[in-house]
């Protein structure tokens, strides 16, 4: 375990080096957050009752999403891993006494956590200070807060194990761009990164809520905002657990197969 902790640590240190990137990222997230909230506010002004989430729930959803963007978004891309596979730098990772799947998992999770921790505070502070009705509210009660934290951890697990499947697919492909773009677009849409899932049409929504993407940001953000509570929340967490286990198994299986026929590129 210690070696994975060490990997986590160096990833963390590494992510802390990039201050300018953090500032730029936060600025974008403020701008994006306000834009999204104003757009929703305009819709809500037309008819308050026509929407599946209350305005305050939507506001909390968006602010939390922006604050913890790095944890949830599929379009965050681990260049180090992609480069290592495509250019053959993977050779060095394979001469380490480490299980490559665990190593990558650790690396991706650490990178996301480090970025999120570095950026969340300013966004959260501002989100709690802006005037009503654009202010973020606290979760309804302590249980809900606990469920939110649990669900966030699972969500991170699902996001990481899903992205590992994509990195493993790079063993079979030479350029990461294609998969990367397609997966990012689809999964972020289906995860509720663009529009929260309750806003989807009823028939589509029933299906989408069963997919692994629904086990990503959809769950913790809706639990935080109070849109999902009590038994429904536990059911959602069970779905997350299911997908996490399934993706981990699939990822390990795919990794084993890929490593058996791996060819290290470039001499």
């Amino acid at each position: 375990m210690k070696k994975y902790r060490a990997l986590f640590r160096i990833r963390f240190i590494n992510a802390l080096q990039y201050r300018a990137a953090a500032v730029a990222g936060m600025t974008t997230q403020f701008a994006w957050g306000f834009m999204e909230i104003f757009a929703f506010a305009a819709f809500y002004r037309v008819s308050r009752a026509a929407f599946p989430m209350t305005f305050s729930q939507t506001v909390s959803y968006i602010w939390m999403q922006q604050a913890f963007l790095a944890l949830f978004m599929m379009w965050f891309w681990e260049n180090d891993i992609a480069d290592a596979v495509v250019s053959g730098g993977i050779a060095y990772e394979m001469v380490r006494p480490l299980d490559l799947y665990s190593r990558w998992f650790c690396q991706v999770a650490a990178n996301r956590l480090a970025r999120a921790l570095l950026r969340c505070a300013p966004i959260l502070i501002v989100a709690f200070l802006v005037p009503e009705p654009y202010r973020m509210s606290l979760p309804p009660d302590l249980t809900q807060l606990f469920l939110f934290l649990l669900s966030t951890a699972l969500s991170l697990g699902v996001v990481v194990s899903f992205s590992l499947l994509i990195y493993i697919s790079l063993f079979y492909m030479l350029s990461p761009m294609g998969v990367r773009i397609i997966v990012a677009v689809f999964s972020d849409f289906l995860a509720g990164a663009i529009v929260p899932l309750p806003f989807f049409p009823e028939s589509l929504r029933a299906l989408v809520e069963m997919l692994p993407f629904a086990a990503m940001q959809n769950m913790p953000l809706r639990i935080y905002s109070g849109n999902i509570a009590g038994a429904d929340a536990w059911q959602g967490i069970a779905l997350q657990l299911f997908w996490l286990a399934a993706l981990l198994l699939a990822g390990r299986f795919a990794m084993d197969r890929a490593l058996k026929k791996v060819i290290v590129q470039g001499g």
Binding site: A6, L7, R9, Q17, P97, V262
Partner: protein
């Protein structure tokens, strides 16, 4: 001990003709060519040996190294390193080996070297005191000192290579694989590197397997040479064995004033320009001293230098002999 028996490895490489038409055609049906990277490779390396593994580009050197490191699975054959099959027991195997790929980096680009080293310490579970001792020793021998606090991106290539080598030795491996380690190093750095490897082998008994194109590395370091070409082991022996294959001819570089001297039997002209000729002398037909006397009798010599075949030329001659 490392034993390889009848190792074969074939790669499938996509091929197509140049041009747009062929590129479009390749979208639908691809032609593959089988490249036999290794064919029936067998050899044995004993503990504490230093072995130079040479061959032209694409001969299969790196493929062999990757198989011995457990990165690549061969199509057939047996490989045994200290009782383990590298690709089956990869994790246990790689704990005992150190690898330097001269063309890649294992250091984290943006963090100080020492952070990378500490990560390696934790990955290999090296005990803290042992790590400190090893690090001190390596830092003294490789003159790391202040470099340790600098991020890899700010180091020169020579400095970074010293760190790469140290990084591969922090867990005190029994076997060290060096894949083109001196690529791009200046003369001083190369000499320092060779001395370091020699010392490591003498003091710790580390087995060293080295691939290189720099024959001076081989001359300075290894007692034994494995020559590989087209995926086969062509020669396994000492530097002296290698020399037997090379021709005995000597090269004379002559600078003169006046008319160009005429050559006699046993001399061949390999280069000529105003006031300077390069002559190859076959000692079985004409002795070197006779050759010089002949030349001196015809014109005024300013400078004469005599040299035998260099290792570089020997290897080039060998490649030619085996048509690789």
């Amino acid at each position: 001990m490392i034993t390889l028996q009848n190792i074969c490895k074939t790669f499938r490489v996509a091929k197509r003709q140049a041009g747009f038409g062929h590129a479009v055609k390749a979208l639908f049906s691809r032609e593959y060519e089988l490249v036999h990277a290794l064919q029936d490779v067998s050899f044995r390396i004993y503990d504490g040996e230093m072995v130079g593994y040479i061959g032209p580009n694409g001969a299969g050197k790196s493929t062999t190294i990757k198989i011995m490191c457990g990165i690549l699975t061969p199509d057939s054959g047996v490989c045994d390193v200290d009782g383990r099959t590298p690709w089956r027991e990869r994790v246990a195997h790689v704990r005992e080996i150190g690898v330097v790929f001269g063309q890649r980096s294992q250091l984290w680009w943006d963090v100080p070297i020492i952070d990378s080293f500490e990560l390696i310490r934790d990955i290999y579970k090296v005990e803290n005191r042992l790590f400190q001792n090893t690090l001190d020793e390596l830092a003294a021998l490789l003159d790391l000192g202040e470099i340790l606090k600098t991020p890899a991106r700010s180091l020169s290539h020579g400095q970074r290579m010293r760190c790469e080598i140290a990084a591969s030795l922090l867990h005190q491996p029994k076997t060290l694989f060096l894949d083109e380690p001196t690529i791009g190093l200046d003369a001083t750095a190369k000499i320092a590197f060779r001395q370091f490897i020699k010392k490591l082998n003498a003091e710790h008994g580390t087995t060293v397997i080295l691939t290189t194109h720099d024959m001076q590395d081989i001359e300075a370091l290894t007692g034994r040479i494995l020559l590989i070409g087209n995926g086969r082991i062509l020669l396994d022996g000492s530097l002296a064995d290698l020399k037997k294959h090379a021709s005995e001819s000597k090269t004379l570089i002559v600078e003169y004033v006046g008319a160009m001297p005429a050559l006699c039997d046993g001399m061949t002209l390999s280069e000529a320009k105003e006031g300077r000729i390069v002559v190859t002398v076959d000692p079985s037909a004409l002795s070197v001293s006779d050759a010089i006397i002949r030349l001196a009798a015809q014109t005024e010599l300013l400078d004469v230098s005599v040299s035998g075949a260099s290792s570089e030329e020997m290897v080039a001659a060998l490649y030619k002999e085996y048509r690789i």
